[in-house]
């Protein structure tokens, strides 16, 4: 099979994502008062409503509606004043009523967008010639066809709406000409606007475990166990327009969305535990072609790496099939990360008929301007704005600012630790947070709250570093000691006699001593061998018993030898 870069030279990949996010931060389920839980005993949190017992009726969770409206506002969606719930029918025991309560043609949030900034190696996935006019054409046509992302919605019609092909998908209202197209900067980076078709509200299904048989599939299982704890969990589904063109863009979109949802505090967004899940739709067409190819749907893209690698594999696989004169079938494929390949799950010969119709038990929603305004007021500072502020006000490097701003817990911690500081000190705090703190938490398997590390400790450590009282290597040691004992870094440094000497007069004595002891090496430096300076710094550190500041030794040695 060809490499991705090679494939994307000749082929344009058209990618759309469907992203499900459980609103894990709510207390109760979507349509009943049962507690949301992940790890409790199976079927501990069930009631007549989520078990679909005869006579039970749904009552919508107001907080869930607030959450989705916030998600829509944060992704530049138009919040629909009038929308309703629909019933989507299929017979499977994970949905206790044999229908899922979801939304129809009009979702709470329609027509949003996120701008993706694609930089570095990731930006190179989109070939230089894939910008400009041809791209403009293909973007517009992709949107007009919508890649059938919402075929399941075609059964539903808004009350009073004319029966037409595109109107009920909400496409006609969107002006594709107004789109900003990705523009390539000199360094190869670019910003791609990715449109969001909709975000709708629905309920999650129960969790099924198939016992016996192969691969945990129901077909060969001896028995199937159902845990209805998850049944009825509030779920929001975001559907993008097919505007993504590379696996990297898909990964970045998912990352960006995750950072936004985390900041909104609506979900723990754990891909590992399945509270944030992503399916990818991908098709190929020759560069310059405006018609869409047949798409496949990818499942099991349960990490950022899987999302990227699964799409990359599938793009290469489709290219190989097409180049050999074969046909792509519209099918659902499963990404196997261990074998690095996708395999067919099922072939969609005909579109599923979900018999969508408005749920008569749930009266249509008319969201008031006040309700929407209140949600807007409650929006926290979003990652992009926060990143920009860290850059502009504190002078933090972009990559660090982005990483910290994308994690609300980390950002709050950072703001505490960096309070009152700017410039070098603020960047030092950022370095400690990005490298030492996250590194420590990862290796210790702790979350920030459980670690007991305080912003004050990190601020104190940063001050020691910024004042050259300790070296970076020492800082690493102090951090570990501080995390374990909970002591203040100042005290640790003093107790361990680590305080680094930055007094140049004191250091000069060691420099003189070393130069006297190693005249040959000193001469080599004077003769032009710059590398030998490292040896001399090492000797200075040795004679100073590690208390000297290596950067200052370096400076003093160069001065003495120049």
């Amino acid at each position: 099979m060809k490499e991705l870069a090679q494939v994307l030279e000749d082929w344009e990949a058209v990618i759309g994502l469907e992203i499900h996010t459980e609103l894990t931060e709510l207390e109760t389920k979507m349509f009943c008062g049962c507690k949301l839980s992940h790890d409790d005993e199976p079927n501990a949190h069930v009631c007549p409503v989520c078990l679909g017992l005869p006579g039970a009726l749904p009552v919508p969770n107001r907080r869930a509606i607030e959450s989705i409206v916030k998600a829509g506002l944060a992704t530049n969606c138009q919040i629909q004043r009038h929308s309703m719930f629909y019933r989507k029918h299929y017979f499977y025991p994970d949905m206790s009523k044999n229908f899922q309560t979801t939304q129809g043609p009009i979702a709470f949030c329609m027509h949003g967008h996120l701008d993706l900034e694609v930089t570095g190696r990731g930006a190179a996935e989109r070939p230089a010639h894939a910008f400009g006019e041809a791209e403009a054409r293909s973007l517009a046509s992709a949107s007009a066809n919508a890649v059938g992302l919402s075929t399941q919605m075609s059964a539903g019609l808004p009350e009073g709406a004319p029966v037409s092909g595109t109107h009920h998908l909400g496409m006609a209202a969107y002006d594709t000409d107004a789109l900003t197209l990705p523009e390539r900067h000199e360094d190869g980076s670019y910003t791609a606007p990715i449109r969001i078709l909709r975000i709708h509200m629905e309920e999650d299904a129960a969790k099924m475990t198939h016992v016996g048989g192969e691969e945990g599939r129901i077909t060969s299982a001896a028995e199937s166990l159902i845990d209805y704890n998850r049944c009825g969990t509030p779920l929001i589904e975001l559907v993008t327009e097919p505007d993504l063109r590379t696996p990297e863009e898909a990964r970045l979109f998912m990352e960006k969305l995750r950072r936004i949802f985390l900041t909104l505090g609506i979900s723990d967004c754990s891909m590992e535990h399945g509270s944030m899940r992503c399916d990818g739709n991908v098709s190929l067409r020759r560069r310059g072609e405006t018609r869409l190819g047949t798409k496949t749907e990818l499942k099991n893209l349960n990490s950022f790496k899987s999302l990227h690698d699964g799409l990359a594999y599938e793009i290469c696989r489709q290219a190989e099939v097409l180049e050999e004169g074969g046909i792509i079938y519209q099918e659902t494929r499963h990404w196997e990360p261990s074998r690095k390949r996708t395999v067919v799950m099922r072939v969609k010969e005909t579109a599923d008929d979900y018999r969508l119709f408005p749920d008569p038990d749930l009266t249509p929603f008319d969201l008031s301007e006040e309700f929407i305004a209140r949600c807007a007021d409650e929006l926290p500072e979003l990652p992009d704005a926060r990143r920009a502020r860290f850059e502009a006000e504190l002078g933090i490097k972009r990559a660090d600012a982005e990483q910290i701003a994308g994690d609300p817990t980390l950002a709050a911690f950072f703001e505490g630790a960096a309070a009152g500081s700017t410039g070098k000190l603020a960047q030092t705090v950022a370095n400690l947070v990005v490298n030492e703190l996250t590194g420590y938490l990862r290796s210790a398997g702790l979350d920030l709250a459980a670690s007991g590390i305080t912003p004050e400790q990190v601020a104190s450590l940063a001050k020691l570093l910024a004042a050259d009282a300790i070296s970076s290597n020492q800082a690493h040691e102090v951090f570990a000691a501080m995390a374990e004992t909970g002591e203040d870094p100042e005290r640790i440094v003093d107790e361990r006699g680590m305080r680094q000497v930055s007094d140049t007069d004191a250091l000069q004595a060691f420099v003189d001593q070393v130069l006297a002891a190693f005249p040959d090496q000193a001469q080599q430096y004077r003769d032009g061998n710059q590398k030998v300076i490292g040896f001399l710094v090492g000797q200075c550190m040795k004679v100073s018993k590690g208390t000297g500041n290596p950067r200052l030794f370096n400076e003093l040695l160069r001065q003495a030898l120049s």
Binding site: P48, L51, G52, L53, P54, G55, A56, L57, P58, V59, P60, R87, H89, F91, Y92, P93, S96, K97, N98, F99, S154, A155, L157, E159, V163, I218, T219, S224, I226, A351, D353, R355, L356, F357, P360, D361, L362, T363
Partner: protein, 425 residues
């Protein structure tokens, strides 16, 4: 209690094999409210399976006879509830009305039966047939008992467990005896000339009109131009919602489960094939067809449009009159097996269905025995949305207009059951 109402500790079968042994772990709000008001639950009443029918002949288990003539049906689908009151077995009973299932059996059995405005009585715990059409209501032998029961059902107002329920906690007794002097009663000429309306039923409506006029009300002609579309709209919306609501009966969590199946699909198919009776299958198949893609646009959308138009007709009519007077059913109770063609059976609901389509309240009041059949005949009154208490006042006026010399209602306990302790004190 109609056997589609959940009460902890009892079976709630909906007269279906599917739920033959099903025991609900919770109690319906309407039942709980009557228990809270001091009512004693006497038993579960037979019905058409899942309320699909107009004669109670579709019960999977029992035959319910009309107490006035045991060769005849009690009407349906709340036939058991109507018959229990007519036979004096219960003072009041509860039924559910999706297309006339309270008002028609009340007329067949000679008792008072009311479908309140949609949303007035909570549907929580009522096994759903057509969610946008279903409404629970009471049967009684006097309008006063009915109004009392309505007070119990609405006490506490809005039910937080039913998002479509309204706060309708009003005293239905307060103006019951106020009379109808100065009121306006509508007659729809087209309904009085409809094909299939028997002379004795027509006569009872005309007689009621003239007696209300004598009581001080004005009789006014009103028109409901789109009523023809009501039955068609009903047989789209009803089956569509029924298909959806009955999808949950798959034998996985509760209800009938076919043993020995080797796959989930087989178990679902065979459990449903065995569990549901003919009419339940017919309605669900019709609903599945009507909701399928390509078909849905043509029928469901048209039905919703018809609903809007019929609702507008009623709105206009109720600008001119307080209530509309019409027959509850084109004829008196028929014999078992007499209506074997389902479409003929469907037409027996021609006078009741439109009200479920729009959600307004309606009530059946007996006026006596038919001059031709000797069976109970009565009238139906329909009112504006949330005009339930006012509707009861008109019903009381009709009851009084047909009362005996000492003020007793036109009909008492059915003769075969008289003297067994069921008479009212």
């Amino acid at each position: 209690m109609k056997d589609n109402l959940n009460l902890v500790g009892t079976r709630t079968t909906c007269a279906s094999r599917m739920l033959e042994t099903y025991q609900s772990p919770y109690t319906a709000t309407c039942v709980q409210r009557l228990l809270d008001a001091g009512c004693l639950p006497l038993g579960k009443a037979n019905m058409d399976e899942f309320a699909f029918g107009s004669s109670t002949e579709n019960s999977a288990f029992h035959r319910t006879c009309n107490p006035w003539d045991t060769e005849r049906v009690p009407g349906g689908s709340s036939g058991g509830s109507a018959a229990a009151v007519a036979a004096g077995m219960a003072t009041v009973s509860l039924g559910s009305d999706t297309g006339g299932s309270i008002r028609q059996p009340a007329a067949f059995c000679g008792v008072v039966g009311m479908k309140p405005t949609y949303g007035v009585v909570s549907r929580y715990g009522v096994t759903a047939f057509g969610s946008s059409l279903d409404q629970v209501g009471p049967f009684a032998r006097t309008v006063r008992d009915l109004a009392l029961t309505m007070n119990g059902l609405t006490a506490g107002g809005h039910d937080p467990n039913d998002g479509t329920s309204h706060d309708a906690d009003v005293d239905h007794l307060a103006h019951l005896e106020d009379g109808v002097s100065g009121g306006r009663v509508g007659i729809v000429p087209a309904l009085m000339e409809a094909e299939g309306l028997t002379p004795e039923v027509k006569h009872s409506v005309e007689e009621a009109a003239s007696r209300l006029e004598r009581a001080g009300a004005e009789i006014v002609e009103v028109h409901l131009d789109h009523l023809d579309a009501a039955i068609a709209a009903y047989y789209v919306v009803g089956p569509a919602e029924a298909f959806s609501n009955l999808a949950r009966f798959d034998g996985v969590r509760y209800g009938y489960q076919e043993p020995g199946c080797t796959s989930l699909a087989e178990q679902t198919a065979r459990s449903r094939a065995h569990g549901f009776g003919t009419e339940a299958k017919r309605r669900q198949l019709l609903g599945a067809y009507l909701l399928s893609s390509g078909v849905y646009d043509r029928y469901y959308y048209a039905a919703q449009k018809a609903r809007t138009m019929i609702a507008r007709d009623y709105e206009e009519a109720f600008k001119q009159v307080d209530v509309i007077l019409l027959p509850p059913s084109p004829r008196t109770a028929f014999k078992f097996g007499e209506l074997s063609d389902p479409t003929q059976m469907y037409l027996s609901d021609m006078y009741t269905i439109s009200l479920n389509i729009v959600g307004n309240p309606g009530i059946s009041v007996p006026t006596g025995l038919g001059v031709d059949t000797g069976l109970p005949v009565g009238i139906q009154l329909q009112g504006p949305a949330f005009g339930d208490a006012d509707l009861l006042r008109y019903a009381r006026a009709v009851e009084r207009a047909f009362a005996g010399e000492s003020g007793e209602p036109a009909l008492s306990v059915a003769p075969d059951f008289a003297g067994k302790g069921g008479e009212l004190a």
